[in-house]
């Protein structure tokens, strides 16, 4: 063995670099090389599986952290000044002393970083030492190893419920079909199981997998990237055959194995190259509006500072000039030489900068950071933002934009899952042009909804209602009363809803009697099966989806069989720097734990309520006995639980199940459906054309087991399907028109509609298409487009089967919340992918639209039309609002616009007009919009109107919008967690938005704004004392306050009160803010932190510093007072003035306030007294020895302190008094009310509300109807829309006034005051 020469080493490193950077990697098994040295390992260039997410190392912490911190201009400024102070000609203080504040600030920040980094280190270590099974050639079995020892090229076995340690190419699973399921909730938060397939054509389907057989194969894969849904590789077998594989064969690090005993994979990416690690970015940095303003004011401060320094420099120069000769107090340098006046003046400029540097508040930035941490602490601890059902808290992921919550002017909301529950309930369907209204189902839902909604209120009020606990033992002792029974299952259903869509509301569909007869008739007559559309319709319902079937019992066994391997979810984590991210983790961890318990629960529950359907009926509805006869009665089908990517699919599968078409099993190649007759049909799945937002439909191509036909079942949005129907004959045309009519009715009822079609593909057509399809799938470049094209090719000439209407109920308190937000001066826009009719209906239901609103419906075909509509409407609206008769009686206008028109309206030339119109509208509903349009709308409004925007959504389609808005809020709902991942704040219910904005937003904003203003004031007021003194010391840069005390003053004596003020001050109580949303308006637009408030406080600071300087000056004039004895009362006076100034600003005094204020004063006196007692010669030239003591023995000191403080604070005090007395702001009035006892206050608020609502009625009565000109280009939307009308859509601009029916089950809560 020879030692490696350096050259070799460099060469090795280069080779490694090349190997890592190559577009394609060749990986081979490690097994033949087991036990050999590192240099012999073929995969040695690729990183191993140990991860290190720490930013710093122990040795390099200080330099690296400093480097990091110096990215902040403020830090550079202060360090620069400290260094400048080391230059003897300009220094103002002793150089070492000047370093202290900077060092303290830097040290504090470094301490915080170090602590965070240490936590990351700990979590890394834990993760790296997690056990896993790696194949060892020596032992010829999988041996236990650690995650960090896993190498690229190893074979890893993952057992059920364990976390995948690295990105594995799946080679073998215990499942005979080579399938395994993974739960990616740790990565993207999606809780539905995803199927992964072992690489086909590789694995010898032995019961046991032999890794040795893989020895001569080469895995060729791409360079790692962060796309979780994309992976391409192929395996070159010894016989040079290539087998390709994609993402469906990749197990991602951090996923959890589910439903599968074990699986074996080949490590392709390890450690930092895994997709989950590449996806792992730190928290985003957003800059808040306030912070942007603040930075401008900092620049003003810099200018002010420079002016003051210039005054100092010029003053020094002229002072020197005026001297007749050299006085004894002018000290020459060591050579006895004196600088010329101009040179001294020049030097003095820098000395002044050093002296007055704290005009730029050094501790401002760190204080703001601390305040925001405190604010976030309070937000996340708010019990009202805690969702009892899911146990989720509000999460703050962006740490520095809390105050933006108080300034929102536009909210863009998604509909599905945000305003609505996203818990889909099958409501109605239309088959072959016949409508089946499912009345019984509707009745059941209505019955169910009523007591349940009542219970829900109780549930929310009492976090732990005893009878609805999740405790298992409670059930046994309960003397099962039916309503309670139902309630319990409802609660359970909600709780487990993030596991599977199996709440009773969704699973239990009571079949329509007529339709049931139809189907049973069709089923009984065997001959007609081939053509019967009813059968096809339900088969379509059951087959055309991607629902995964899992057995509840099977799951349970596995769960209990394997010990839970604890720390699985850390893979994502790196315990990121922020507080909030820790919350995410805990919530993940909690969730995963909960899944377990709930699974156990649900099993137990099933045992109790078996079968649930019949029991429900027995207690509830009695005319439906016959249904239960047809309901599947065997146990296996009851134990099925469906896991769907979207809740619609699950709802449809459950609907099909209700009619006896039970989806029993789904493998990649086959679907098993049990027919009502009890017969199991196994369909071979030829292909699945997945859903995408461009096509708005999905299809499944299966081979019918009996007829052997290739059948394509498609479902999709009506407009995406209707265009593709085969050439219609008369009867079919009628049917299509009828269906369309039904669809429109459904939409008007606020239901989500889907069309189902079928197409029989001939073998020949399939063959040729299949070739194309394979080619597209194998393509490397723009594969997605090609695949989509092939899908479009096949989806033509469809024949319509029917349509379904699925209800998505509004979340609780949504109308309430929207009304409150609107009263708060926030414009709420709804952006949805749904049809305009559905959207308008939901709009009415959630009070986005009001009955008396003027609704402008914009849907135009071409740009010309679009332009003219915009112009007309705008002109009309403008004329209306300018009309003197209509002053103060603005008509509420709402705009409904569809995606196509939106695209035109947002084009660069129409943008301005559209925004102008939208600005005048009370609400805007955008329908049929794509995710990218959503974000475009947000961006346009944000940029054109210069307002703060907030986007709230729950699904992956809202991610763009969430990221485009100033504040993105993710709703952790049914649709996975992508929205939450992309958001700045995550809440669990839409109604939480109300408190988050109206209360926390308002508080955070006023607190921070006031604190920042106060901070500027504080520093200017203090520094100006020094400045005024310059006029009496020949502008020589003398400070009359001991340097240490000066530093302590800012660092300790007066730093905590403003921070406390920023975290805890409460101007108006939460009840008041919620009760009177108008109060929110104070923060909008410029808010409290404006140019004028800043300068007013600056002027006040100047005034106060003048008073604080000149009263003592006049009192001590021509006396024997010395420099530092003079400074002591000044320092004390400033302390009192500054603290009492804050007390004027503090709105609510709690114990904490008092303790901190008194503590600050006490600290000042204790520290100063101790310092003056101890320091005899410690701090030359200033010598504080016994000065404060002698001052405190002098009555003059107190007299001066008292009068100065009174005079200094008098104007501000008077200002507040006069303002509050003569022209009280709404906030002050609210504070007045706040002090009333709660009962009177509520009474008053109620009274006021009624006053306001009558006011509104009056207003709308007063308003004149729209002038005739408005009606010329428009038309009144007809009461009943015929299908033809909608299809042709002749009238581009529809002015509708309360034309739409109100949906049946909107939860009207009028008593907003309660």
């Amino acid at each position: 063995m020879t030692l490696k020469s350096p050259l070799d080493r460099v060469r090795g490193a280069l080779r490694g670099q090349r190997a890592r950077e190559k577009d394609l990697r060749n990986l081979v098994s490690n097994l033949p090389y087991e036990g050999l040295g590192k240099a012999k390992q073929p995969n040695r260039y690729f990183p191993d599986n140990a991860i290190k997410t720490t930013k710093y190392t122990l040795l390099l912490f200080i330099p690296m952290n400093l480097f990091e911190q110096f990215h902040r201009p403020a830090n550079i400024y202060f360090v620069g000044l400290a260094i400048l102070n080391f230059v003897p000609v300009v220094n103002a203080f002793q150089p070492e002393v000047a370093l202290i504040p900077v060092c303290v600030i830097l040290a504090l920040a470094a301490l915080k970083d170090a602590w965070e980094d240490f936590r990351r280190y700990q979590s890394d270590r834990k993760l790296n030492n997690t056990p896993c099974f790696v194949y060892s050639r020596k032992d010829e079995r999988f041996t236990e190893s650690r995650w960090k020892d896993v190498q690229v090229g190893d074979f890893v076995k993952v057992v059920c419920n364990e976390v995948v340690p690295a990105d594995l190419l799946l080679l073998h699973t215990s499942d005979p079909n080579g399938v395994c399921h993974i739960d990616t909730s740790n990565l993207d938060g999606e809780t539905n199981l995803k199927q992964r397939r072992a690489m086909s054509g590789l694995c010898i389907s032995d019961p046991e997998f032999e890794p040795e057989s893989f020895n001569n194969s080469v895995v060729v894969c791409e360079k790692p990237d962060n796309n979780l849904n994309h992976f391409k590789c192929y395996v070159e077998k010894p016989d040079e055959a290539k087998v390709g594989a994609g993402i469906e064969s990749l197990l991602l690090r951090g996923c959890k194995m589910r439903n599968t005993d074990h699986a074996v994979g080949f490590v392709v990416y390890a450690g930092h190259e895994t997709k989950s690690m590449l996806n792992n970015n730190g928290p985003r940095y957003k800059r808040s509006k306030l912070e942007r303003k603040l930075n401008i004011d900092v620049i003003f401060c810099v200018i002010l500072l420079l002016c003051m320094c210039l005054v100092g420099a010029l003053g020094h120069f002229s002072w020197l000039q005026a001297l007749p000769s050299v006085p004894p107090y002018l000290v020459p340098d060591s050579n006895g030489h004196l600088d010329s006046p101009s040179l001294s003046g020049f030097y003095m400029f820098f000395t002044m900068i050093i002296l007055l540097q704290i005009l730029i508040p050094i501790s401002l930035y760190i204080s703001i950071e601390l305040v925001k941490i405190g604010q976030i602490y309070f937000i996340t601890n708010d019990i009202d933002l805690h969702d009892d059902e899911t146990g989720r808290l509000v999460q703050c992921k962006a740490l520095n934009i809390t105050e933006d919550l108080g300034q929102i002017e536009y909210i863009f909301s998604d509909k599905t899952g945000t305003l609505t529950e996203n818990k889909m309930v099958f409501r109605r369907c239309s088959i072959m042009g016949t409508e089946y209204p499912h009345k019984e189902n509707a009745i059941r839902l209505a019955v169910l909804a009523e007591p349940e909604s009542g219970e829900e209120v109780i549930f929310n009020q009492r976090p732990q209602p005893p009878q609805t606990g999740w405790s298992l033992d409670a059930e046994g002792t309960d003397p099962d009363v039916t309503p309670r029974h139902r309630l319990k299952s409802k609660v359970k259903g909600n709780a487990q809803s993030d596991v599977a869509f199996s709440s009773p509301l969704e699973t239990e569909v009571i079949p329509d009697r007529k339709l049931l007869q139809q189907t049973s008739r069709a089923g009984s007559s065997r001959g007609s099966r081939k053509t019967d559309p009813y059968l096809d319709f339900f088969l379509g319902l059951a087959i055309c989806n991607t629902v995964v079937v899992s057995m509840a019992t099977a799951q349970r066994q596995r769960v209990s069989g394997f010990p839970h391997s604890g720390q699985e979810n850390n893979s994502q984590d790196t315990l990121t720097e922020s507080v909030s991210l820790r919350h995410i983790f805990t919530s993940w961890r909690r969730k995963s734990k909960r899944n377990r318990t709930i699974l156990e629960d649900s099993v137990v529950e099933e045992d109790h309520f078996n079968p649930p359907v019949t029991k429900e009926e027995a207690g509830d509805t009695n005319g439906l006995q016959m249904c239960s006869l047809h309901a599947p009665s065997d146990k296996t089908s009851d134990n099925l639980s469906y896991e769907a990517e979207s809740p619609d699919e699950a709802a449809l599968v459950y609907a099909a199940k209700a009619y006896g078409f039970t989806l029993l099993d789904r493998t990649p190649d086959s679907v098993t459906v049990r027919l009502p007759s009890g017969e199991d049909l196994v369909f071979e799945v030829l292909d699945t054309l997945n859903f995408d937002s461009n096509r708005k439909r999905m299809s499944v191509l299966v081979r019918h087991p009996i007829t052997k036909e290739n059948v394509l079942y498609s479902k999709g949005a009506d407009y995406a399907i209707m265009e593709l129907l085969e050439h219609l004959s008369g009867k079919q045309k009628n049917m299509a028109a009828g269906t369309q009519h039904h669809l429109n009715c459904y939409a008007k009822d606020g239901l989500r509609t889907l069309c189902f079609t079928k197409k029989i593909v001939s073998d020949k057509a399939y063959e040729s298409w299949s070739v194309n399809r394979q080619r597209a799938l194998a393509a490397i470049d723009n594969r997605e487009e090609l695949v989509m094209d092939t899908a479009v090719q096949l989806e033509t000439g469809l024949s319509l089967l029917g349509a379904t209407g699925i209800e998505d109920r509004l979340q609780e308190s949504v109308p309430d919340t929207i009304v409150a937000l609107r009263e708060a001066g926030i414009q709420v826009w709804m952006l949805t992918g749904d049809k305009p009719e559905t959207a308008v209906n939901i709009g009415y239901a959630c009070r986005l639209l009001e009955e008396e609103d003027l609704v402008i419906n914009m849907s135009c075909k071409n740009k010309l039309e679009c332009t003219s509509i915009l112009d007309c409407t705008l002109e009309e609206v403008r004329r209306y609002s300018e009309d003197p008769r209509n002053v103060g009686t603005t008509q509420d206008i709402s705009l409904v616009i569809d995606g196509r028109s939106l695209t035109m309206a947002l084009s660069s030339d129409l943008q301005d007009r559209f925004v102008d119109l939208a600005k005048r509208c009370r609400s805007v509903l955008c329908c049929r919009v794509t995710p990218s349009q959503k974000s475009r709308v947000v961006k346009v409004v944000r940029e054109k109107l210069k307002v703060l925007t907030l986007a709230v959504g729950d699904g992956a389609n809202d991610v763009n919008m969430i990221q485009a808005a100033d504040i993105g809020i993710g709703l952790s709902g049914q649709d996975g967690m992508q929205a939450v991942m992309a958001s700045d704040f995550a809440i669990s219910r839409f109604k939480h938005l109300k408190k988050l904005l109206l209360v926390h937003g308002h508080w955070c904003y006023t607190r921070l704004a006031n604190m920042i203003i106060y901070f500027f004031y504080k520093n200017v007021a203090y520094v100006n004392l020094l400045f005024w003194y310059q006029f009496f010391c020949g502008f020589s840069g003398t400070a009359m306050i001991d340097y240490w005390l000066m530093i302590f003053f800012n660092l300790f004596f007066t730093s905590v009160p403003p921070i406390m003020f920023g975290i805890m001050d409460k101007d108006v109580s939460a009840e008041m803010l919620l009760g009177v949303p108008e109060l929110y308006r104070t923060g909008q637009g410029a808010g409290e932190y404006t140019f004028s408030t800043f300068w007013v406080s600056m002027l006040d600071a100047f005034y106060q510093s003048l008073v604080c300087f000149f009263i003592p000056y006049l009192a001590y004039q021509d006396s024997d007072i010395d420099v530092f004895t003079f400074g002591t009362p000044l320092n004390t006076i400033s302390l009192f003035t500054i603290l009492l100034h804050l007390s004027i600003e503090i709105k609510g005094w709690t114990v904490v306030h008092c303790v901190i204020m008194l503590g600050s004063v006490a600290l000042y006196f204790i520290v100063t007294l101790a310092y003056s007692a101890i320091c005899v010669t410690c701090n030359p030239p200033s010598n504080p020895y016994w000065i404060l003591q002698s001052q405190m023995a002098d009555p003059m000191f107190y007299l001066i302190c008292i009068i100065t403080t009174v005079v200094a604070l008098m104007p501000r005090y008077m200002f507040h008094v006069l303002k509050n007395s003569i022209a009280p702001s709404p906030l002050v009035q609210a504070r007045h009310l706040d002090r009333l006892d709660p009962f009177t206050r509520d009474e008053w608020m109620k009274e006021w509300r009624s006053f306001r609502s009558t006011g509104r009625v009056k207003r709308s009565r007063l308003s004149t109807p729209p002038s005739p000109t408005l009606e010329t280009p428009t038309d009144i939307y007809p009461q009943s829309v015929t299908p033809a009308d909608v299809m042709e859509d002749e009238f581009p601009l529809n002015v509708m006034t309360k034309n739409y029916q109100r949906p049946v089950n909107t939860r009207e809560t009028d008593s907003l005051a309660t």
Partner: protein, 370 residues
């Protein structure tokens, strides 16, 4: 006074998770505590500044301030003060000649005497100050130019004074004691006061030079190196400041306890004045008995040994005789300020009363919305 209300909300009393901790209760363990602090419901006092609530405060301030002001004003007026400018800037002044010819380098002292008459007798202890104008003792470099360790009796600092003392750190190769510009520019005029009685005889008035410096300065801050005995040895190897005529250990030949760094005149000078026009205590004229005034009215002569040049900075030199009260020297400002502020407060109180009657009644009835 200020209206206060405790809007303490009743605690709901339920603590989540307490009742249901077994089994599935773990799920909810993360629910935030319902404590008043975490829910931001701490009982708070919420003062609102309105005319009605604060106007008593204004009257009270007015009522307190005006008597204080009157007291201060009267006290200040009772203080007797007499001031003589002996700069010699104009020709009529007795010291004109001295001022004209004198500089730091003069070796022979110039003497001049200023006669003056006290119209009123000065009771109790009379303090004699010298006052300088336009002397920027607070110049940054000047203030720094000293070595506190040296003055504290530190041996090593005595031999090698701090760099801050430059250029008055060493002289002819020897360290200067006391070093620095402050010490170097020590005020060295000598003032003597004679009373001319009715017979025309000059009686020297005894001037006490003890007790003019702070006790802590004399006993703690300033110390001679190696104790107070044999200062000549202790200061061996050091040089006197360049402007001084005699070394530091010969400052007061009459009192060995008043020599070296603990010389009280020196200590007083070393306490640098805050403002360019200042006075420093020079001597104390002790009260003799309760029956006769300390300085009876009549004619006096101030004998000045004119050593200190002030023409280089347009300065003035004064001698001030002053009695002293609990509030220090004569200064009517504070009294006037208190009276003024008190009156303003009173006036504002009246204004607020009017405002209160005009507006506040409206506020109390809750009719906020407009």
């Amino acid at each position: 006074m200020m209206a206060s209300s405790y809007n303490a909300k009743e605690e709901d009393g339920h603590h989540p998770g307490a009742s249901n901790n077994g089994g599935a209760g773990v799920v909810k363990s993360k629910k935030p505590d319902n404590t008043a602090f975490k829910q931001q419901r701490l009982p708070a006092w919420q003062p609102i500044l309105t005319a009605g609530t604060v106007l008593p405060a204004f009257f009270v301030i007015g009522l307190i301030f005006i008597p204080i002001g009157i007291g201060l004003y009267v006290t200040s007026n009772n203080i007797k003060e007499y001031e003589i400018d002996y700069t010699g800037a104009d020709v009529n002044n007795a010291c004109y000649n001295c001022a004209k010819n004198f500089s730091w380098n003069s070796t022979t002292p110039c003497l001049c005497s200023v006669p003056f008459t006290l119209e009123q007798p000065f009771e109790s202890n009379v303090f004699m100050y010298y006052g300088l104008s336009n002397f920027y003792q607070n110049h940054r470099r000047y203030v720094k130019s000293r070595d506190d360790s040296q003055l504290n009796g530190d041996q090593s600092a005595l031999k090698s004074p701090s760099k801050e003392c430059e250029p008055y750190r060493t002289s002819e190769g020897q360290p200067i004691a006391p070093c620095g510009a402050i010490a170097n520019s020590l005020f060295n005029d000598t003032l003597e006061l004679y009373h001319i009685d009715s017979n025309g005889t000059r009686n020297a008035i005894p001037l006490v030079k003890k007790g003019i410096a702070w006790w802590t300065d004399k006993h703690v801050k300033f110390r001679n190196p190696g104790g107070n005995d044999n200062l000549t040895v202790a200061f061996q190897g050091t040089s006197k400041p360049v402007n001084w005529r005699k070394p530091v250990f010969e400052m007061d030949p009459s009192d060995p306890e008043n020599n070296g760094f603990i010389n009280e005149d020196f200590i007083v000078w070393m306490r640098t004045a805050a403002l360019p026009t200042f006075r420093k205590l020079y001597r104390i004229i002790q009260k003799k008995s309760s029956t006769t005034p300390t300085l009876p009215s009549g004619k006096y002569v101030l004998e000045i040994t004119y050593n200190y040049p002030v023409r280089s900075f347009d300065g003035r030199k004064r001698m001030i005789l002053s009695t002293i009260s609990w509030m220090g020297g004569k200064n009517p400002f504070l009294g006037i300020a208190y009276i003024t502020v008190g009156s303003i407060c009173f006036f504002l109180g009246v204004v607020l009363l009017i405002i209160h009657h005009k507006y506040d009644t409206r506020n109390s009835s809750a009719d906020i919305p407009s």
